[in-house]
């Protein structure tokens, strides 16, 4: 086992152990508290909060993926090419508009809870998937596309059997990137009462409890890193690298 894998394994074990039994880590966090404040977050179950955050992120990622891949396919077809500038602008707005601002706008429309967070994460996650889908589809060598059409594939068959498989590694990379960004960003959802680790960080900020802030931040960070690595490993397994000449 390589050093990197060893490190990953250790991080995973640490994360699971902390989420299952946070009180065992109390002595570690105790020095960060003052005036006898609780060293471990005690207003909710850390495991459930982490899972809730992951669930929100995954829901948003599924929606972003469907829309971004769909748009990416559309604008690389001859009939949809004219929509490329418009789509790119919309997706870019999703990325540049700060998620906090999206929350502020969304709350009056859909109320407090998970919904505004889902909207913010959805909009924020579109760009990497969209751009990678386009890059992937454009990476298909012209001779391969010509051969596919020349042998009698309809445009739909060509997309399904040739273009998407060749673009898949890049599309997966875009999804991975989007997921990882979302895991971190999702913590702000707690400001509008979405379940998540942001709750822990906010509680820490309100009560000047550095231990809480650190817990929320560390768990979120570890989840993002492990998710990134795990998905990368999956990608390597399912899409052997193809040299495109």
């Amino acid at each position: 086992m390589s050093f990197a894998n060893l490190l990953r394994g250790a991080a995973l074990v640490l994360l699971i152990a902390f989420l299952l039994s946070p009180q065992s880590f109390a002595p570690l966090f105790a020095p960060l508290t003052q005036y006898g404040a609780p060293p471990i977050y005690d207003q909710g179950n850390l495991l459930l909060l982490a899972l809730a955050q992951l669930a929100t992120v995954c829901c948003a990622a599924v929606a972003s993926t469907l829309v971004a891949v769909g748009l990416g396919i559309l604008v690389t077809r001859p009939a949809g090419a004219q929509f490329l500038p418009l789509s790119r602008t919309l997706v870019n707005i999703g990325q540049t508009f700060p998620p906090v601002a999206v929350l502020a706008v969304a709350v009056p429309l859909v109320g407090f809870g998970e919904k505004p967070t889902l909207i913010a994460l959805f909009a924020y996650g579109l760009l990497p998937i969209f751009e990678n889908t386009i890059a992937g589809l454009r990476s298909c060598p012209p001779a391969v596309l010509e051969a596919a059409s020349g042998m009698g594939m309809s445009p739909r068959e060509r997309l399904r059997w040739v273009e998407l498989p060749i673009a898949m590694p890049l599309i997966l990379e875009g999804i991975r990137l989007s997921l990882v960004i979302s895991v971190g960003t999702a913590t702000i959802g707690s400001t509008v009462a979405a379940k998540g680790l942001g709750e822990v960080i906010i509680a820490g900020l309100l009560s000047s409890n550095t231990a809480f802030i650190l817990q929320g931040g560390l768990v979120t960070g570890l989840m993002a890193v492990l998710l990134y690595d795990g998905l990368a490993a999956l990608e390597r397994r399912f899409s052997p690298s193809i040299p495109l000449d």
Partner: protein, 310 residues
């Protein structure tokens, strides 16, 4: 049989192919040759409707190619291109199986056909069926490309500079293989190239194109002896046209009855090769051996030279 009737392609004000008509006989090879930008590839791609003609029509065995959807038409026509265009994410066997799969052949028949083709193209199925294209050499990739084009037993095979990317030795071998395949399956072939030697070597008939127009469509020898246009004469090459003409006739065809002294040559050797052999050996005549290895006639330098002019 392919019948092309006053086929024209215009992009805006530019005419890429201008009123081209020609007929490719069944079981023959027609080669379209021209400089780049002559419209030869566009002409080829209008046969399988990768490019839709502006006007004119193509008849395939008497039927207008526009009567069925383009992608269904293309499944009946083999297509091989320069740089092979193999699917990088699919194994060699899956690549070859592309058109049979599209046509919905049963798996067992597809499997048989892939194996047969790999053997025809001298690629051991045990080694190459499961390989990915990037694991093959350039020559092997090109062979897989042609095998894939032939997979569904098309009556017509279109090729766009299929050997353009190969080095001379592999190219000669690929050309010999192609002639072999053509004799074996009787496939009607249309091949595009910019290489006149390749055109003469492979084509039963050669079409010379320039600036979208068909200048001449004739047997190779006729292009040399009766060029219809100064451009055709330039394309065929004026400085060694006698040698090119000699290269088009085999010793068997030109052999004189009787026997003579001199080196022995095979009946399938070209007169150019025989002449070269005679010059090299300083001999004045050669004995021509038939397929069975017995003498079937003789050739003299004078008889060969007489064949090198119209």
């Amino acid at each position: 049989m392919i019948l092309i009737e006053s086929l024209t392609k215009q992009y805006g004000a530019t005419t890429v192919v201008d009123q081209v008509s020609l007929e490719v006989e069944r079981n023959s090879i027609a080669v379209i040759v021209g400089t780049s930008g002559s419209g030869k590839s566009t002409l080829l791609r209008m046969i399988n409707r990768l490019v839709e003609p502006t006007s004119g029509r193509v008849l395939l065995d008497g039927a207008d190619t526009r009567t069925e959807p383009a992608h269904l038409l293309r499944r009946r026509i083999g297509y091989a291109i320069q740089g092979h265009g193999l699917f990088p994410h699919r194994t060699v066997a899956e690549n070859i199986a592309t058109v049979p799969r599209l046509l919905g052949w049963p798996e067992a028949r597809i499997h048989e056909r892939v194996k047969e083709l790999l053997e025809i193209f001298q690629l051991d199925p045990a080694v190459y069926a499961g390989a990915l294209p990037h694991q093959l050499s350039g020559g092997q990739q090109q062979r897989v490309g042609v095998a894939r084009a032939l997979a569904a037993e098309p009556a017509v095979l279109l090729m766009d500079e299929p050997f353009g990317a190969l080095d001379p030795i592999i190219r000669a071998k690929a050309q010999a293989d192609l002639l072999d395949i053509q004799r074996r399956f009787g496939t009607t072939m249309v091949l595009v190239t910019h290489d006149m030697d390749e055109a003469f070597h492979l084509g039963h008939r050669v079409a010379v194109m320039s600036e979208g127009r068909l200048l001449q469509y004739d047997r190779p020898a006729a292009l040399l002896t009766h060029p219809a246009d100064p451009f055709v004469a330039r394309m065929t090459g004026l400085n060694d046209r006698a040698m090119k003409l000699l290269a088009l006739t085999t010793a068997g065809e030109a052999a004189l009855p009787g026997s003579s002294e001199g080196p022995q040559v095979g009946a399938s050797a070209s007169l150019r090769e025989v002449l070269s052999e005679l010059v090299w050996r300083g001999a004045a005549s050669a004995v021509v051996l038939g397929e069975d290895g017995t003498p079937c006639g003789y050739l003299t330098v004078a008889a060969i030279l007489a064949r090198g002019r119209p």
